[in-house]
Amino acid sequence: MTEKIASEEKVIFNLGSEKFALGTEKVKSIEEMQDIIPVPLAPPYVTGLINLRGAIVAVVDLRQRLGLADIQNGRDMVILIVEHNGEDVGLIVDRVLSVEIFEMKSQPVPEAVTKTKSGRFYLSILGAKDEKVVILNLDKILALEEK
């Protein structure tokens, strides 16, 4: 057998102009943007709650969580429903681009990047330069921070 080639299916999406990805096995569904009920005293990156067919799901503003610039996009925004520690959580992203199977080796995140505000949420990087796709670390993004 040749060396390990990760062929994994990823959901690719935009936050601003940058491309990010999560493994399809982590994404339960993609939901249209809808009314989100804000929750007082919640962490700033938690936008609020939605009613997803009778189940109430907390929604996280992924852009804010990653500390990215706040650009109002609106039109193509969707909510990715992911499962984390047995709980469904929604992630707001600007646009879902595609679902693709990648068959290349991902590179580790350069150390300089891991120290940036958003870099600590990166798992690895696929491709280079313009075609760069950042694979996100869901566990870190959804970890509760001590106050």
Binding site: I5, S7, E8, E9, I101, E103
Partner: protein, 122 residues
């Protein structure tokens, strides 16, 4: 020299991926096709050791292509590619004469293992 394989899939992406996997596994990709009809044509011409073929394709589908190929060569070895949820089609392809199948998304090791099994090399 490795065994000669004909790769048939309507998506260039999938063909490229399968070919890459096969080449890394010491197989020779002797031809490619995008439809069932092309598969049958190529089979006649190339007489490959193995055909790896998608189950759903425009023009002539994978199952009909298996039947046509088996008519030409009852000992043809065909390995089907299927997506999740195509259980019934896979069963039909096996009845038509396909020797084994792999399920997308592919794990390279599974494709190679299946190819080697069908060709009875270890």
């Amino acid at each position: 020299m490795g065994h000669r394989v004909l790769v048939v899939d309507d998506a260039i992406f999938m063909r490229t991926m399968i070919s890459d996997i096969l080449k890394k596994g010491d197989f020779e990709v002797c031809g490619e096709g995008a439809t069932g009809a092309e598969a049958v044509e190529q089979y006649k011409k190339l007489k490959p050791d193995l055909v790896i073929m998608d189950i759903i394709m425009p023009d002539m589908g994978g199952i009909e292509a298996v039947k046509a190929i088996m008519q030409i060569d009852p000992n043809a070895r065909v390995l089907m590619c299927s997506a999740m949820g195509q259980q019934a089609l896979v069963v039909e392809a096996i009845q038509a004469g396909a020797r084994d199948f792999v399920v997308k998304p592919f794990q390279p090791s599974r494709v190679l293992e299946a190819a080697r099994r069908v060709l009875q090399i270890s």
